[in-house]
């Protein structure tokens, strides 16, 4: 961006300032929480920091503390993994099904994506009530799973449809011409090309589930997922232990993303290295 005499216009500086303020607004609070989680033992929820310590982290994991953070973390991770796999499988299958228009395809599409506009808390309420009426006990891995899928499936399907849209259908015909069975077409042509999209769906599925609150609230049953546990504790806990929880949760999500990115990177590198070795 430059004016005729080569210098940046004033709008550049104005917009840059706006961007800086935006970043501070988004990440500032998180950073404060992160900082305050290392509050000293005698410190309170606000500044000043008495000293730096890991006291509140230790509190988190000690048996004497209220709530069941480690348990909630384990449940959230497990549930998120299951949601990730189920979302991925269903989305890919949907993508394959929607390659050619079929009777009712538009209806199915709208029904699936409609759950995006319904408020999550109402979806949770509905499923919770239905479970009660039918006599099924609410549990995070059954009713909770179902409720979360209403949230992740539309995202997953939309991503896959977008990726399939750029997929050149002729490649399947070419593969068939060269002798590929439908399964071979799937593993040798569709999956390798759609791979980045599939990673995106998996990531979405995991993180949407891990952070999910509204739908899980009334369908998780007796044992809480992490967001529910944090919410429950927030009403009781008045110490920086809360900040430790927040930091820990953020770090977990960050780790998940870093691990997946690293996996993709290594996989792609291996694929290219495999090529060279065929010389």
């Amino acid at each position: 961006m430059a004016t005729l005499n080569g210098r940046r216009p004033w709008t550049f500086y104005a917009l840059s300032l706006f961007f800086v303020l935006y970043v501070i607004f988004i990440y500032g609070p998180m950073f404060i929480v992160f900082l305050l989680s290392f509050q000293g033992q005698t410190g309170g929820l606000t500044f000043p920091m008495q000293s730096m310590s890991l006291h509140w982290y230790r509190e988190l994991f000690s048996n004497a503390s209220a709530g069941d953070i480690p348990g909630a973390i384990k449940r959230s991770l497990l549930l998120a993994s299951v949601v990730m796999v189920v979302t991925l499988v269903i989305s890919v299958l949907a993508g394959l099904a929607f390659r050619k228009p079929f009777r009712g395809s538009t209806t199915i599409f709208f029904i699936t994506t409609a759950s995006l506009i319904v408020p999550g808390i109402l979806v949770g309420l509905g499923i919770g009530q239905l479970a009660f009426l039918v006599g099924v006990r609410a549990h995070w891995l059954t009713t909770g799973l179902g409720a979360q899928l209403t949230w992740t499936l539309p995202f997953g399907m939309l991503i896959i449809f977008a990726v399939f849209g750029r997929f050149d259908g002729i490649l399947e015909e070419v593969a068939s011409d060269l002798g590929a069975t439908p399964w071979q077409r799937f593993t040798n042509v569709i999956v390798p090309i759609l791979f980045p999209g599939m990673i995106a769906v998996a990531l979405f599925g995991f993180t949407l589930s891990y952070d999910e609150f509204a739908r899980s609230l009334l369908t998780a049953g007796a044992d809480n997922t992490l967001p529910l546990e944090i919410w429950a504790l927030m009403t009781n806990v008045t110490t920086p232990k809360l900040y430790a929880i927040g930091t820990l949760t953020t770090v977990t999500s960050l780790l998940v993303i870093i691990i997946s990115m690293a996996t993709i990177f290594l996989l792609l590198r291996k694929r290219n290295a495999g090529t060279k070795s065929s010389e």
Binding site: D168, I170, L171, E173, V174, A175, S176, D177, L178, G179, A180, T181, Q184, N188, V189, P192, I193, T275, K276, S278, E279
Partner: protein, 375 residues
């Protein structure tokens, strides 16, 4: 003159269509038709968009089921066989190279589907890559290659399956002019080298004339005429073929008399031309309306002496176009029909033809070719 200069000794690549048709719902894409393509022949299916040539090719490839009829390759019926099992391989118009595989891996794909071990199939692929002169690109990805190179990869990938028939769907349409001419001769060379039957779909008549042993002209799902390029060019069956193949002038007139083996045809503006009778087409007697064609390159400017010859046709010139090896003179006859002639530029030494001039043209009347009505 030998009919086909690359006929295989055996019939393994012979293609027969027997009463084959294709209907999509209510739309008839290909009407029931019969066609024999000899083994080892280079056959071009020629016609405008929508004439059914691509549908015919896809039925041959196994990517489309025939609604009726039998398709035979090498004597065996292949209607229900997969592309791989029927011995065909297709080179698609957009090539369809797998973007996530290198050139070598693309070519090795068919053997991978058959379960050939990695080392062996990559070695085989390497050999084929050498044969199409792409050795130094073997480990590149398709997006790094030029259009002509991509086409050679697509060819190598298809040929490695050792097909009896190679199918090409408008292979040269995506290339620029210069590359198109180069790839045309490459295709002929590959055909000569591998000796298998080629079926090549195109809408470009010069391309078909240039590469094919057998040209099949199609229109609205039917075969209008099939034969050697020279036959189609010198003796088009009807006005459609004459116009599509190009290079002809069409005349319409009425038969006034017969003179031995010729008809005397009178044009609306009064000229009387001599048209040899056509043994295949019987409706040729006095007062019939007929059409006939003349090759544009057989027509000459009438010199002062030959103006006295009543077989000249006067033309009002609309345009001249210099094309190097000839000058195209275009206009309308006094009957109002379109006219064009290819005149050698050394027949016009000091003479320049002006737009609007009315000039007489003359030619050897044996060049007149009677046309059947368009069916």
């Amino acid at each position: 003159m030998e009919i086909l200069n690359t006929t295989k000794a055996d019939d393994s690549g012979e293609i027969r269509f027997e009463q084959v048709s294709k209907t999509f719902g209510d739309v008839v894409a290909v009407e029931p038709m019969d066609l024999v393509i000899p083994s080892g022949c280079y056959c071009c299916l020629l016609g405008p968009s929508g004439c059914g040539k691509s549908t015919l090719l896809r039925m041959l490839a196994g990517h489309e089921f025939a609604t009726t009829g039998e398709i035979k390759i090498g004597g065996s019926v292949v209607n229900n066989l997969s592309p791989q099992m029927r011995g065909t391989a297709m080179m698609f118009q957009s090539y369809g190279l797998f973007p996530h595989l290198t050139v070598r891996q693309n070519v090795a794909f068919s053997e991978k589907m058959q379960g050939v071990p990695k080392a062996e199939r990559l070695a085989n692929a390497g050999e084929m890559v050498d044969r199409v002169h792409l050795t130094e690109f073997a480990d590149r990805y398709p997006k790094e290659l030029s259009g002509g190179q991509q086409q050679r990869v697509a060819l190598a990938r298809a040929l490695i399956t050792q097909p009896k028939v190679l199918l090409l769907d408008e292979p040269l349409s995506a290339l620029d002019e210069h590359l198109r001419l180069k790839m045309r001769s490459e295709l002929r060379e590959i055909h000569r080298e591998f000796g298998i039957t080629f079926v090549h779909v195109t809408h470009t008549q010069l391309e078909a004339l240039g590469v094919a042993d057998l040209v099949v002209v199609m229109d609205h799902g039917r075969i209008v005429q099939s034969g050697m390029p020279s036959e189609l060019y010198s003796r088009p069956k009807n006005a459609y073929v004459a116009e599509f193949v190009g290079g002809h002038v069409l005349f319409h007139g009425q038969v006034t008399a017969e003179e031995g083996s010729n008809l005397i045809v009178k044009l609306p503006s009064g000229e009387e031309l001599l048209v040899p009778k056509n043994n295949n087409y019987s409706a040729q007697k006095a007062s019939d309306h007929v059409s006939f064609s003349v090759r544009r390159d057989r027509i000459s400017l009438a010199s002062d002496e030959s103006i006295a010859d009543k077989r000249t046709v006067k033309v009002k010139v609309e345009m001249t176009e210099y094309q190097g090896i000839y000058v195209k003179v275009q206009g309308y006859t006094l009957s109002g029909s379109e006219f064009a002639a290819y005149i050698n530029d050394y027949d016009l030494p000091e003479r320049t033809i002006k737009v609007g001039e009315i000039i007489p043209f003359v030619w050897d009347q044996t060049a007149n070719h009677l046309l059947e009505p368009n069916s």
